[in-house]
């Protein structure tokens, strides 16, 4: 449905990718715990490797949960599908887009 407006109505997104330079926004959604009330959002370089993403962004956030077990294996999802990222791959290589949400839970 078009906006009902007195004049032309076309304004840019305030969160568009170009506002973040070489970086992008990426959220992580903890699917097996309610300890974190909502998914967390990071700003991460597109060229950042999966290992760096985990060590520098994911772990420092996740370990605030007293039950966080660094040794536990985790499963990941992206765009609703299982996702098996390798440490050396960059977020861009992995197909993680601006504002994408990566789901995670401890492997069964």
């Amino acid at each position: 449905m078009a906006i009902k407006s007195l004049g032309e109505y076309n304004f840019p997104s305030r969160s568009a990718a170009e506002n973040y330079g070489d970086d992008q926004l990426v959220s992580v959604w903890f699917q097996d715990t309610l300890w974190f009330a909502a998914p967390v959002m990071f700003r991460a370089p597109r060229a950042m490797t999966w290992a760096e993403f985990k060590d520098q962004l994911f772990v420092p956030f996740a370990e605030e949960d007293p039950d966080y077990d660094p040794a536990a294996g985790r499963t990941w999802t992206l765009h609703g599908k299982p996702f098996e990222p390798q440490d050396g791959q960059s977020l861009a290589d992995l197909g993680v887009r601006h504002k994408d949400v990566i789901g995670t839970r401890v492997a069964a």
Partner: protein, 521 residues
Amino acid sequence: MTLAPEKKSKKTKKLSMKARYEALTRGLDWEPSYVAKDEMFPHLDYEGIKIHDWAAWEDPFRLTIDSYCKYQAEKDKRLYAVLDGFAQGQGHLSLTDASYLNAMKVFIQGVTPLEYGAHRHFAYLARHFAGPGPRFAALCQSIDEIRHMQTEIHTLSNYNKYYSGMHNWPENFDRVWYLSVPKSFFEDALSCGPFEFLIAVGFSFEYLLTNLLFVPFMSGASFNGDLPTMTFGFSAQSDESRHMTLGLEAIKFLLEQDEANVEIVQGWIDKWFWRSYRVTALVAQMLDYMLPRKVMSWKESFELYFEEQMLGGLFEDLAFYGIKPPRHVEDAIKEKELLSHQVYWTLYQFSFAAGFTTTAPTDEHLDWLSQAYPDTFDKYYRPLWEKEKKNIENGGRHFARGLPQLCQVCQVPMLFTEPGEPSVLAQHESEFEGEIYHTCSNGCQWIFDREPEKYRQAWLPVHQILQGNCGGPTVPDVLEWYGLQDGDAGEYIGSRDHKNWVAWQGEAAADTAAPTEKAGA
């Protein structure tokens, strides 16, 4: 009986209420002579609403200038007498606890600025409606709204002398993350056409949800020793009854004017019910978590003031016009046993960046919650608080070390769960012109997909912080940019307010103990 006045002789001198109202709203209107009527009222066509007869508008209150001024003055007089007495008697020391004021901090930061927004926009309606009846009703409401803003400021300014979090609310409103929820809601309404605004604020907010927002809130103030807020609340609510009438009259008027209006109005009800309902999330947690002495749970309040009064009463009435209950109302009903817990758990872990403090519920409070929410609390939320209790014993305190993903429409962190699945966080994704947008619920996604051009502009606090637009990259940078000071944010226990409260209560106890000691000596 002897006191009963002899009245009839006296009253016949005056015109009847009906005649006075007619004289004001009809007799003072005129037809333009040197411009066309649509030039005089240029904003009335573009939304597609058709009005054939503006004179059909009836204001049941039949308010005239003289009675409006007389009663508003009386209301102010009563309020300011209470404020004065409370301040002179150091009334703040008789609150149940200083933590009670966290609810008032959220109120002055998040609600008071909305009153000002409403004042401005009802003034716009008072200019732009083509009928004198609705113009006058909008004018009164515009004056009411600025009175509410002023009386709220005066009511809470006494607390600001002694407590944190209330010193910078106008700037907080424009900048702080959780305040973007009420701010974006209201700006969404302000940027609509005049008729949509009327349905958005006059009907959906003022009629459908105002009881839920203010009535339990006033009882909460009364029950927690906050006489000024109770009196202010009463003073404002009595105007609110008039606003509800305007909202209801507005919707009936639009529906009766043209059959083609029905579909447009239904769309607005669907949208604005959900937008307004999402804002009430902040109130839900106030009732269940921020009031030291509880009045009623959010669930009870929702059942009484929304399900019973609105769904059971009002919508049966509107069915006559072909209006259906709001879309997604079932999702709201399913949420009533979850909402306050989810929201407070979120505020608890992000209050390091807020203009209020939070604390873990005591065991007694947890028991009250278990009893008020027998089907959900013990299953989903009590375990989180028990875990947090251990965490605190071990020297922790759950503060999230990051920023939450936000809903593109309501701007609340994505804390809500899928209807009927209380442990599955909801994630809705829409794509528009190559960019993806996330929403927290069926309701918000429906609203986004209906007008993506509007919602893609959202100034989402987390996205803006990460863009570097909010003072800098670290939490202290952002807090400084928010204009928050030491003592405003974080954990309540050990906070400045808490320490002062304990000291002041101790002094009071020492004062009363002293004469006895002397007498004994």
